[in-house]
């Protein structure tokens, strides 16, 4: 392999794994800046991935998917967003209306989602069939654009590891930034996470804003679940391998701000990918005397993140009112 194609592979794979982290961490940002700790991101991802993968299989069987591949993928993305949003309502109801402990509610949902996914997968696919395979037409191929296959940098980059979710993620990232910082809604949402009493006193409906925050996080989390499943490549197995929790870490690492979250997710994904390409990158040590040296590279992103977190911890600042149920009586 030439070095350009390796470089294209590494960049492509980094983006591929950064996309779910970015989407889910942005989702967490909306929820937490409205004042609700969303530890249920892992569960939301699983539900989004489950529903969208079932949709993809359904579209595949009906023949619609093969004839309109990217439209089919778009429908799956919408389903992922909708199912994630519906699932997140459970968190919103418990933590906003009933003022329950947000960590407890989130933990319950994290437990519910994989169990529900396994039970439903069994029910749909038959006993013991725990993997939902993703149809191959979900990939973006050269034929979609009517161009010929060639071994160029950009073709390697785009057609190996880009999906419709990648493009959607870019659009959603821009939307998220604009929504959070350039609209009245964003300002109100943030105020509910900082000082809900003050927000309420100027006529902002704190309950509505927090519901909006959680539902947006549900949409983004659901799409993130689908994005993770296409990135993982082996089909949906009722799990997102802890990416929801990682996204939580990326969100804190990214200081609850969109651009730093983008940086954090790319950073984390890059260090994750370096490990799997360590054989093809000449200047990396290969630890020949050590058995299973892949674990050293698997540990790398976590170690680096820890170091960065310790170095930047003085600047870290969580939304002030997150985790505290809003009680009108405290105004």
């Amino acid at each position: 392999m030439s070095w350009t194609s390796i470089l294209a592979d590494i960049i492509g794979a980094t983006i591929l794994f950064a996309v779910p982290l970015l989407l889910v961490a942005l989702g967490g940002m909306f929820s937490e800046r409205s004042g609700v700790i969303n530890i249920a991101l892992e569960g939301i991802m699983i539900v989004g991935a489950l529903c969208s993968c079932l949709t993809l299989v359904g579209l595949d069987k009906s023949g619609f998917g093969a004839s309109h591949p990217q439209l089919g993928m778009f429908i799956a993305i919408l389903v992922a967003a909708a199912s994630g949003a519906v699932f997140s309502l459970l968190l919103a109801f418990a933590s906003i209306n009933l003022r329950a402990d947000q960590t407890i509610g989130g933990t319950a949902l994290n437990m519910l989602a994989p169990a529900f996914a396994i039970v439903l997968t069994w029910a749909v696919q038959g006993q013991g069939q725990t993997t939902i395979l993703i149809p191959t037409w979900t990939r973006i191929t050269q034929e979609n654009f009517g161009i010929e296959k060639a071994d160029t940098f950009f073709q390697n980059l785009i057609f190996k590891s880009f999906y419709l979710t990648t493009i959607v993620a870019v659009i959603l990232f821009i939307c998220a930034y604009v929504l959070m910082y350039k609209t009245r809604f964003g300002l109100r949402l943030r105020s509910c996470g900082e000082h809900p009493q003050a927000a309420d006193s100027v006529g902002i409906n704190v309950f509505k804003m927090r519901y909006a925050g959680v539902i947006i996080s549900g949409c983004l989390g659901g799409i993130g679940g689908l994005a993770f499943t296409v990135a993982a490549g082996s089909g949906f197995q009722s799990s997102v391998a802890g990416y929801g929790f990682l996204a939580l870490a990326v969100m804190i690492f990214g200081n609850w701000k969109p651009f730093t979250i983008l940086g954090a997710s790319l950073f984390f994904a890059l260090f994750k990918i370096i490990g799997s390409y360590s054989d093809s990158i000449p200047f990396l040590p290969s630890f020949e005397s050590v058995n299973s040296s892949e674990y050293i590279y698997l540990m790398l992103p976590y170690v680096v993140t820890m170091i960065v977190l310790i170095l930047t911890s003085k600047k870290s600042r969580a939304p002030k009112a997150e985790g505290i149920p809003y009680d009108k009586g405290t105004r």
């Binding site: 530890i39 459970l90 418990a94 009933l98 003022r99 329950a100 402990d101 960590t103 407890i104 509610g105 933990t107 319950a108 949902l109 437990m111 519910l112 994989p114 169990a115 529900f116 396994i118 039970v119 069994w122 029910a123 006993q127 013991g128 799990s239 391998a241 802890g242 929790f245 990682l246 939580l248 870490a249 804190i252 690492f253 050590v290 058995n291 299973s292 040296s293 674990y295 050293i296 698997l298 540990m299 976590y302 170690v303 993140t305 820890m306 977190l309 310790i310 911890s313 003085k314 870290s316 969580a318």
Partner: protein
């Protein structure tokens, strides 16, 4: 004061029982939806399987012991205002340390358990020190350390040929050696309990776990040290103002929490029936400590019962296969925890109701000390919850 505390305990138990009943009901509905023909039998096996034979009962106790430990780990941190989501990493490192001392160094079981405790404590210490000194959120650090612990243990095991099963005559390389062939003295003693219950699973680990739970209860409720830890959890600024060293307490709390999870890992893998398998996914036992702690309302005594209950219905759930996926049990547990989140609200309402009740009685007649029946109740209710499963 004592009466108030006990009646609060009673309300907590009552709220938990209500959530358990609703959880089981929803589980039953799921059974009907997915396979109506077996639904009644399925519910029956969830409720009664754990007591159906002495072997199953032994399995309940066998799984409950590490669950109590990880539950205590999460619960202890909760009490002191920290969310230790890293119990699974501490559990893994604890298990590793126990096995290294058992297989590599050929130590007796109690040395291995102490090693497990130290391993877990170290894995709790790092997130604690990061929180105390650098104010890094302990949730993110412990998530990182879950994966770091898992990968480090796998890396080390792959480079310690003596640890693996194939060095001791077995054929597989992907797991640690069976203690029975590598070092029988590292197996936790059974004291004849295995013959009493006719089960290989039975050993004294459940008693070790219960004794530790009682010790933790005494530390938290009867000692100044525990009071200081809880004070930091309630209000850090107020406790600093009162002269408590909050930073030291954060670190200590995470160290103790990690040590508890580490012992859990040791207990499970020193039973002689479990071998650590090298896989790239986190161990569920550590995460299951979170629901146990929540269901037990973070109280050490509540955690004992919560762990027994969850282990009990998990044994029942395994009997659901192949008609149903055993994960239906996880759905039931999830529903119970979701409802127990509400129950904080219910508890407040109930609490107000019962509080005014007892205070009225007190006001009417102080000499008779009428609230006696109330404190007696929690002791009654807790066993019936277990007996309820007996039928």
């Amino acid at each position: 004061m004592k009466n108030y505390f006990k009646s609060k305990g009673f309300i907590t138990v009552l709220a938990s029982v209500i959530s358990i009943v609703v959880g089981l009901l929803i589980g039953f509905i799921l059974l009907i939806v997915f396979n109506p023909a077996y639904a009644v039998g399925g519910l029956g096996s969830i409720i009664s399987k754990g007591f159906s034979s002495s072997d199953k009962f032994a399995k309940v106790l066998y799984q409950a012991a590490p669950l109590i430990m990880t539950g205590l780990s999460v619960g202890f941190a909760f009490k002191t205002g920290l969310f230790n989501i890293g119990a699974t990493g501490q559990y893994t490192v604890g298990a590793f340390m126990a096995l290294v001392f058992g297989i590599q160094f050929q130590m007796p079981w109690w040395v291995c358990l102490i090693a497990a405790m130290i391993g877990g404590a170290i894995w709790g210490f790092i997130p604690g020190i990061c929180k105390a000194l650098f104010n890094v959120n302990e949730v993110i650090t412990s998530i990182m350390f879950n994966w770091l612990g898992l990968f480090m243990v796998n890396l080390l095991l792959n480079n310690m040929p003596v640890m693996l099963a194939d060095h001791w005559g077995a054929s597989n390389k992907d797991r640690t050696a069976a203690l029975a062939s590598a070092n029988p003295s590292a197996i936790i003693p059974k004291l004849g309990l295995n013959e009493l219950l006719h089960s290989n699973y039975m050993n004294i680990s459940i008693f070790i776990a219960i004794i530790i739970a009682v010790v933790i209860y005494i530390i938290l409720e009867k000692r100044t040290f525990g009071y200081e830890l809880k004070a930091c959890g309630f209000n850090k600024d107020a406790s600093i103002y009162a002269g408590i060293n909050a930073k030291r307490n954060i670190v200590l709390s995470m160290v103790i929490s990690g040590a508890l999870a580490g012992i859990g890992g040791g207990i499970y893998y020193l039973s002689g029936t479990a071998q650590y398998t090298i896989v790239k996914s986190l161990l569920a036992m550590g995460f299951n400590g979170i629901p146990v702690a929540l269901l037990g309302a973070s109280s050490p005594i509540g955690i004992i019962f919560a762990a027994l209950f969850i282990s009990y219905i998990q044994v029942g759930g395994e009997a659901l296969q192949p008609e149903y996926a055993k994960e239906i049990i996880d759905i039931i547990i999830a529903v119970i925890i979701y409802l127990s989140a509400f129950s904080l609200l219910v508890k407040n309402i109930l609490g107000k109701f019962i509080k005014t009740d007892t205070s009225n009685v007190n006001a009417e007649d102080k000499a008779v000390t009428p609230p006696e029946p109330v404190p007696a109740k929690p002791a009654e209710v807790a066993p019936t919850e277990e007996k309820g499963g007996n039928e």
